[in-house]
Each structure stands twice: as structure tokens, then as C-alpha cells.
Amino acid sequence: MTPFRSHLDHLENQSVFIFREAYHAFKNIAMPWSMGKDSNVLIWLASKAFFGKVPFPVLHIDTTYEFPEMLEFREWATAHYKLNLVVKINEEARARGIGYETHDPVTVTHELKTVALQRAIAEFQWDALITGIRRDEDPTRAKERYFSPRNAQFEWDYKDQPPEFWGQFATTSQKGEHVRVQPLLDWTEVDIWRYIQREDIPIPKMYFARNGKRYRSLGCSPITKPILSNAATIDDIIAELETTRTSERAGRAQDHHERNAMQKLRAKGFL
């Protein structure tokens, strides 16, 4: 009797395979962690891949506009998973007065997230970053590879990407370059929720409805708006997602500030 493997099993197996390939291929690897739902699924899958251990540093880019609940969750999860946590803030940009109070979201996101990330990569000499990018998040992400090289300027050349097939990935990078490793590429938002439910993965409470509102996607507090929802459990959320046709990142202001904002952010190195 051959046991049954579900769609989630297939996704999990593939992600674990990618984690291990990345860990073998790159000497210096790190995993950005936003404490959001996808990020926590990544921590979980890394634990699956390495049998209970996350064997590389986990990086939180702190924009200083974090929700307090998220920071609480960060401290709890760091201890719970025994993570090697690195926290980075672009203090220099904050000192220059860059902030949501005075600047547009694309500028602030670039300075406080992308630039902070670039500096951390330079400081730690990471040659690969494991990210939680999913193809279904945004059209620009549909063309991603599991292993996606970024040049020294962090640019993504989506017109000339390396071929990727038969489980063989682009695993080399030149000095100053790094590779984005994307184990969740094939997952959808509903897959993530079903997996969180099945595995009982801890996530911040802000995803669940309070007073008729909940957060579907979490970013910086001034530019992240909750959606109208009464979904108080994972079952409710899955039921809600099954019927909605609004995009997941609709509540994230930096995506909508101008036409093609996401594409511009991504070409400049945004995750």
C-alpha cells in the first residue's frame, strides 16, 4: 500500500529540498524574517529540513515602524526556535529624517528596508538569502526562479535569468553578488494558511479579526491597513480567501503609491 501524499506534502517536500540545496551550495547564508505568516512558515520548513535546527542567522530589518505585537512575537519566537537573530536598523536614514511622516512610502521602504538589507549583506558577506516570495503575490513575482541571482547593485535581470530545471539551480555567485533562494515560490496564500493550520505553526495574533478588522499582510504600521473581516480562526480565514478576489497586498501602501511601484521596488532590490 502506497501512502497518499497531499498537495501540501508535495509543497513541503519541494521546499525542504530547496533549503538543503541552498545550505549545501552557499557558505554564508541568512534568512530575512519579518515575523509575518510566510516568514514563520519558512522557519518551520527550515526546522523540517535540518531536523529541528535553523542552522543560519535570521535577519530582522527593523524599520522602527514595527507593530509592538510583532516585536513581542519576535522575542518569543527567537527563544522558542533558538534562533540566531540579527537585527538591523538604518539609523543613518532615520537620523536624516527619513520617515513616513515626511516622505512617500516608496522612498521610506527603499531606505529603511532595502538599504538596510544591502548594508547587512555587505557587513556579513552573505552570498545567499532565503526569502518567502510566492508567485501568487504579485505579477512581477510570477517569473521568479527558486534560485534567483542578484547583481552587486541588487538588481534583478528578469529578462536574462538562468535556466532552472530538473532540480538543478544557479548556485554560484560572484563576489558582491548574492542569490535569492525562494522555497515558497510555488505556494499560494491559501496553501500557507492550510499549512499553518495543519502544522499548528505559531503566528502573530494580528492576522485574526478583532472588532471586525484583521491584517491580511503585515508591514510597517503607518502604511499597513487592516481589512474588514470577521475571520477569527484559520478556518474563517481560509473560507474568506476562497471567496475573495482582492489581492493580498491591497493593504500595503507602498505597492500602490504609483504605477508599477512594485516592479520599481523589486528591480531596486526589495524582497
Binding site: T2, P3, K48, G52, Y158, P163
Partner: protein, 642 residues
Amino acid sequence: MSAGGRNTELVAEPPGSAVGNQRLKIVFVGHVDHGKSTLIGRLLHDTNSLPEGKLAQVEQACAAEGMEFEFAFLLDALLEEQEQNITIDTTQIPFRTQRRDYVIIDAPGHKEFLKNMITGAASADAAVLVIAANEGVLEQTRRHAYLLSLFGIQQFCVVVNKMDLVDFSQDRFRTIEAEYRKFLKTLGLKPRLFVPVSARLGENILNLSEKMAWHSGATFVQSLDQFEPPAPPTRLPLRFCVQDVYKFDARRIIAGRVETGTLEVGDEVVFSPANKTSIVNSIERWKADGGDLAIAGDSIGITLREQIFVERGYVGSHQKDAPIETNRFHADLFWIARQPARLSHLYTARLATQEVKCQIASIEEIMNSATLERTSGTAVELARNEVGRVTIHARAPVVLDNHDRVPNLGRFVLVDEGTIVAGGVVHGGVYTDRATVKSKNIFWSEGKISARARATQHGHRGAVVWLTGLSGAGKSTIAQALERELFQRAMHPYVLDGDNIRHGLNSNLGFAPQDRIENIRRVSEVAKLMADAGNVVITAFISPYRLDRQRARTIALQGNAEFIEVFVAAPLQVCEERDPKNLYKKARAGQIREFTGIDAPYEAPADPEIVVHTDRQSVAESVAAILEQLLPRLKAEPLVND
């Protein structure tokens, strides 16, 4: 934008009906401008799979630009695509029918973009080939089908699009169908269905078209729903490919993926290429109760009862169904890099988790992937988008399978300067029975001094140079001349001569077939040991049977020695005229029985590393030809040019 139809109850449900099932991945291919993007845009629209507001957004954008709306625009998520009006890269788009979830892989039709096509198509479960009814079967229509067959995709549906441009003509459809079926048959492919559609007008997409009432078959969506879902290849032989060995805690966990077959606690597993055996003690998973059985597709870890040396690249199998181990294999290679393939160049081959340096030893045939014409001869280059039938020579043994037996271990990529430059599928490999090669209880011991350390001290690597040919072809003469040449280069050659061996080690053997086999086996073993000690062993035996020489190769590779087969060729008539030991005369007179070439067969090598023709080349020329190919392989440090 609505399509009239005969069958109105077939309206797609909103998302929500088919959750939890695995998504079927379908690749769309076809000649450029035959309407793939339009077909996909129409499919998304008619199955109600577009994000909210997407249609309106694209319609507004078209209005703003003063352009007519086209369904293809729905796909063009990136600005650049719209500007260039071609599909740049593989795109994945989910949609859903009443039956199940799908992911569309839109592969480009532009002929320069093979690498994107393979990236998309290699993971597909089924393919849709699009042909424009007004243009019919064109170059890429044939090329794509050929490539998909090479990638191993079995399920096809052919859509004849733009039927509106040929007045929905049944004759036109039948003509195209007949022509294309004939072509697909030459590839061994059987399309599931041919469907006439107009993607632009929505005819025969979701509902049966009234304009094509002559079509009694399925609609496009129905034909998709008839594809079989992928099943994990559990019935194939076990191939557990090791990714790494982890020691994060007290456990020593061998992590990897079961590519094919099943693996159970208590199984005896042989790890190639070392050919070491141990019993599976446990299957490790974190926070999962997967039990004592792992199946194809599972990413797991295992612990072993006896601690044997295993590292990344090793392949676990069951003893009775072991893979092939060889440093030389045949493959169909499709070239995707701008730089053409070159014979002398050193590439890295990656097959499952193995990585070895290799060269393309020869290109026997180049296939025109549009006409399927083969050009045989001695090509030295393989250009971008060409497919060649080649022989790969690797610098270390590779564990592999024939692609038609175990696809996962029968496909590989070549990497140059960190970039994948080609993909290949293996064919024609010979399986040997591991149990007859070696008793399972005796393991090859690597000793304390590594082969690399010996090579560094000796200035060259150990190797077995196996001369084969008829009696009188010149094996012994060439062996001795070659030995002298190597010795003069301060190397460590040694000739294993037939007579010397028979006087000592093999003095208990006669010339009966079983004794001959045993003779060659012992010679192979001695050669392996001497090569492992760092010598260049030159053997000079008729060794008429291919199987024996194959076994000699396997034995040498198990000792991590290079094995180079040299065919010392001369026509029988020439050998008989030479007859240095008067053996042919005796054989002709009936004084010797079962003499090779007279009343016993000689099986010439099918693909030796080196061939010399002693009827036209002098001894010096023959030795020079051998040295030219031999010396680069004996270098102490692996050649690195990438």
C-alpha cells in the same frame, strides 16, 4: 466578449470547489504568433480565474492607448513584454475548472528562448501544443514537440487555433491534424486530442462551438480535464539521492530525497558509487509522523545501522535494482548557451546531487530539431538550440540510469562558469549485476593514503590502459613501446602481459570459456590494485568479449582508477599474415581450438576511448596517438578551466 455555446451548463464555478488537490501543471507551446497568449487569456477569462478588476484594467489601458483589446494582454504582466510584443520568460498562472486546479506554464515561442522553455516545460505534467489554422504546422510546431518528448513529457493535447480565420473549415482542421499526427508518431508521441478553437472569439473553449458543429469531440477545457494527474514514481527502482550528512546533534542523519521507488526501515541499501551496503535504521522527519516508509518525492533523512562512509552525491538503491556506475555514457544533449559546446572543454556535469568534471568525448550526431534530420559524422561543436547525440567522459564514476528506465537519474545538466549550458538525457547504458562483481561483504577500503596524495607524489594519477584486439594486432608491441614512453617521462607504468600472468597467478586456469572469463577477471582485479597504488597499468590481452571488458571497467572504477579502453585494430587478414607466434597456422590446421578470429568470435569495442589502426599506423604513430589522449587524463591535479 461572451461566447455563444451549445452547452451552457458547463460554466466554471468560482474558486473554492477543488481545493487541496495537487495542481496539474500544463505547458503551452507553439509557433510564435499562433495564439498561445490569446488562448491563455481567453481560458482565464472564461473560467472566471482572473483577479478582480483585471479585465477592466486592461481594457482601460487599451482604450487609453487607442488600441484594440486583446486577450493576450491579460498575460502581459510586465511592461517590457507589451513593448516587445513577445513573451520573454516562462510565466506561471493558476486557474481552475470544475474538475481541478491548474497551473499554466506559458513557454515562449520565440526560437532563441529554449532555456526558458525548458525551465517551464521540465516541470510540466502535460502540454498543450498550439497551431494556427491559417498557417498550419511550422518549424517551431515540430521543434517544440520534439523537445517536449526529449524532456519526458508524455501527455499532449493539440489545439488548432484561429479557426475563425479559415471559416471554421473542417477540411482545414483535418489536414492539419493528419499532418501533425504523422509527425508526432515519428517521435513516439500520441496526442490525446485535437481540438479546433478560436481563442479570440471563445469558440470551443468552455462550451462546444455552434460554428463548428462538425466537431464531436471535447471542448478545450474538457480536453484539459482529461489529462491524468501526476503520480509519484513509487513503482520504479529505489533511488535515494543524498543531499548532505547532518550532525547537528548526536544523530548522524543522511538527508536526501527519495527520487523514485520506496524506502523502508530495515531495508538493505547499497550506496553507489562506493558500493557500500548498510541497513536503514530509521527514517527521520521533524514534527511529522511519516512512519517507517518513505516514497518517491519525500524529502527525508535516514540513519544507518552500520556507519559507512556516505556523502553528498551518493545514491542509495536496493541491491537487485542498482543503477549504472560509469565514467563514460551516451546522451542526447540539448545546448542552451550562447557559446557552442566544444569537445576539449572541461564542463561540470550535475546529475541529481552528483557533480563531476567531464568532457564531451565525441558528438556522433546532430539533430535538426525541426525536421528531425540527423547529421552524423565527426562534429566538434554543438550550437545553441541544437540537439546532439554525444558521448560524455567524466573524470570520476557517475551513478546514473537510462532515461527510459529511471528518468530522475537519467537526466543531467552541464554547467560552465556557474551557468547551466545544456541538459541531457542518458541512453544505452549497460546494467551490471553488482552481486557478481563483488561479494557484498567485502567493501572497498580506501586506505589511509588518498589517491590524490599518491597522485601528487607520483606526479600523475593511476590508471588502467586496457588494450584489446586480435592476436597479432600489435597489442604487446604497443604496450611495451607505450611503457617505455611513459617511463621516460618519469612516470610509473607497468605492462600486465598475458603470458606472465598465466605462468603465475593464473597457472591453474586453462582456455575453457569459464577459465578465460576468470583469467580476465583476475587481471582486472590486479590492474585495479596496481592502479590504485598509483601506477599506469597497461594490459595486453585479446579480451574478445565486450562483457568482460565492461566488467574490467567496472572493477577499475570501483577502485577509483581511470579506465581507458584502447582498441588495437587490424583486419584479420593482416594479423594472420603477421602471425608472430604461428598461432593462426595452428588454428587453421585444427591444432588449436576456439581461437579468436578463426573459430571464436571477437567483439570489437562499440566506443573505446582510443582506436589505433596498426595496419596503417606505425608503432610510433600508434603510441603517439595513445599518448595524446592519455597524458591529459593522467594529470595529478584535475584540469580546471572553469
